[in-house]
């Protein structure tokens, strides 16, 4: 009987192709937009997750941080991290290797009459290993560069291109805050994220950066290090917190003025964000599915009226209420299921197309759960909005239905 009803439903859907298509268009668009959005978000997530995973999960990052109450409060109590903090951590905790403190600032660079703003990182020789990004041409910063506060710079590729520094810029000079720096290396390309270049930055020795920016730099400091033994990760985290609290003289009832995070924390907070975005988008799409469902209900009600005589005939030759109910319910569900199926295919196609069209966008990724969700949603909507018209059909009196013109 079930198969009979599906065949009947398909027969009726095919004999009214245009109407069936328009009826299920709402479901189709709703499901297609869910799949597209999920595929794009999951694509971004997958690519970021991969980038983070590449760095290794035994890296801890510490940055100044406070729960901001007001702007005035923030300006008076701006948290900072100092080189001494970094040194103390390294000396006190045995499991730390590759410690690399870093500061970052935005400054103007000039060369040959061209000017632009860029990120200046005051970095440590360990920067390469910790971040998994390496110099491509020339050399990186060394311990000696730091010791002698040398005015040398390693550039991101975007600066080389936009400042027209030529094929081989190594050995040339650029001005950072009007101080001449000698170019010693070029970093490998990081690519772009949402069309935003990730290669607009310049690395200078940490010591030279501190000379240039002074005390304010501590507010934008960043300490990264590797923990030799993965098992000690949490232990080291706690030790760092205890030492920094003591050094910053934070009373027991006050929160930390720094934030310690591992790669895992970053992945987790990122996935929380994407989940929230996904939920919001799905909520909006849910409304469109609801509208689609009402469309199906509307047309099914019309169908029931149009086919009153058919219902009468079927009842006369022995169809029970249940038979008629399941026939029309299955027709509604088949209709919305087909809409959902086309929507899923369309969504996958649109997701890939969008990821292709937006420059530097990571490839779309449609997870299996989204496909199941699409099918589940469309079937559920079909049942929800098919029950009422099907019930109406089943309740028809056969005599009246047979007489219906």
């Amino acid at each position: 009987m079930f198969i009979e009803n599906i065949l009947l439903a398909l027969n009726s859907i095919i004999s009214n192709k245009m109407r069936s298509f328009l009826t299920t268009l709402g479901i189709l668009i709703g499901v297609a937009s869910i799949i597209t959005v999920v595929a794009l978000i999951q694509g971004i997530f997958a690519s970021i997750d991969q980038q983070i995973q590449q760095l290794g999960s035994n890296i801890i990052s510490i940055e100044p941080h406070m729960e901001v109450q007001s702007f005035a409060d923030y300006m008076n109590n701006r948290p900072e991290l100092t080189l001494t903090d970094a040194d103390v951590l390294k000396r006190s905790i045995p499991g730390i290797t590759d410690l690399a403190p870093m500061i970052f600032q935005t400054s103007q660079v000039k060369s040959g009459g061209k000017t632009r703003n860029t990120f200046i990182y005051g970095a440590h020789p360990q920067y390469q290993d910790i971040n998994g990004q390496y110099v491509e041409q020339g050399r990186f910063l060394t311990d000696l560069d730091l010791e002698y506060h040398r005015k040398v710079v390693v550039l991101g590729q975007e600066i080389v291109n936009s400042m027209k520094l030529g094929e081989n810029p190594i050995g040339k000079s650029i001005l950072i805050r009007n101080v001449p720096f000698k170019i010693i290396g070029l970093m490998e390309k990081r690519g772009s994220f949402f069309g935003q270049s990730q290669d607009n930055y310049a690395l200078i020795p940490l010591t030279s950066a501190l000379d240039m920016y002074g005390r304010i730099a501590g507010h934008f400091a960043y300490i990264q290090f590797r923990v030799a033994d993965m098992k000690q990760l949490n232990n080291v985290k706690q030790q760092c917190a205890a030492i920094l609290r003591r050094r910053h003289k934070i009373p027991d009832n006050k929160p930390d003025d720094f934030k310690i995070s591992t790669q895992e924390d970053i992945v987790e907070s990122f996935s929380k964000t994407t989940n929230v975005i996904t939920a919001i988008v799905m909520g909006i799409v849910g409304i469109s599915l609801l509208v689609g469902g009402i469309g199906i209900m509307n047309i099914m009600l019309v169908t029931v009226t149009e086919r009153t005589r058919e219902i009468g005939i079927r009842k006369a030759v022995g169809a029970t209420r249940k038979n008629i109910l399941s026939q029309f319910l299955i027709e509604a569900v088949t209709l919305s299921f087909l809409g959902g199926a086309i929507g899923i295919l369309l969504g996958i196609a649109l997701g890939n197309l969008a990821a292709h069209m937006i420059p530097h966008f990571p490839p779309a990724h449609t997870p299996l759960w989204a496909i199941f969700l699409g099918f589940g949603f469309s079937t559920g909507i079909g049942i929800l909005f098919g029950v009422y018209p099907a019930g109406k059909a089943a309740a028809l009196n056969p005599i009246d239905a047979l007489r219906h013109e």
Binding site: S12, K315, V317, G318, A319, T320, R321, N323, P398, L402
Partner: protein, 227 residues
């Protein structure tokens, strides 16, 4: 006795007034009979037809079909009785327009849960018996009125019902096809089928072996014909 009707009454309330569409009607029909029910419009013959066809339930009285009281049955039970025991032939044919002749004949078998392969065999055999074997894959709108009515008869017979109910079956046919159909119905009766035919045309009614005439919801005449 195939049909026992005792004091069957159907009352409709129109406004504040009670209308007796059928007023304490009693009669019996034996197996293998060919009965016509006649009467002018408003005589109650449609109401009687609906009750005999288990499409409706009476206000009062009893209707026993094969010794079973069907007058107190619920919707689901009545549907099963219609499916197994009754074959309808309607004035306007009432075929499903989207289905071929074969699939129209198949419909009662679907509700009787006959397996698909067997269903199609039985339906095709029945169409052939009605002389419609070559038109099995035509849709109703590709068939003439007489051909449609033959498909409808095939559908009525396919579940081997105890009773064939024909409601003005010739009403939409020309005189030539009317005679052909009536000959077909008489032939079915000769083969042992019990037939009740509702009509308002005296010469059609006279082709049955017995005629029950209704007026104002009461039987005014019940005669046998000698052919």
């Amino acid at each position: 006795m195939l049909i026992q009707v005792e004091e069957l009454t159907k009352t409709y309330v129109v406004g504040t007034e009670e209308v007796h569409a059928l007023d304490h009607v009693s009669f019996n029909v034996g197996e293998g009979e060919f009965v016509s029910i006649m009467g002018a419009s408003g005589s109650g013959k449609s109401t009687l037809m609906n009750l005999l066809g288990c499409l409706d339930t009476p206000t009062e009285g009893r209707y026993l079909l094969k010794e079973t009281d069907v007058s107190k049955m619920n919707d689901e039970e009545l549907a099963v009785v219609r499916n197994r025991e009754i074959g309808f032939v309607f004035q306007v044919f009432n075929l499903l327009p989207g289905l071929t002749a074969l699939h129209n004949v198949e419909v009662p078998l679907i509700y009787n849960r006959v397996p698909r392969k067997k269903r199609l065999e039985m339906s095709l055999a029945m169409l052939k018996a009605m002389g419609m074997g070559e038109r099995a894959h035509h849709r109703p709108n590709q068939l003439s009125g007489g051909q449609r009515q033959r498909v409808a008869v095939a559908r009525a017979l396919v579940n081997s019902p105890s009773l064939i109910l024909a409601d003005e079956p010739t009403g939409n046919l020309d005189s030539k096809t009317t005679l052909e159909l009536m000959e077909l119905i008489r032939e079915l009766n000769r083969k042992g089928n019990t037939i009740i035919l509702v009509t308002h045309e005296p010469d059609i009614g006279a082709m049955a072996n017995r005629t029950i005439t209704l007026k104002d919801g009461k039987i005014i005449e019940d005669i046998n014909h000698v052919h």
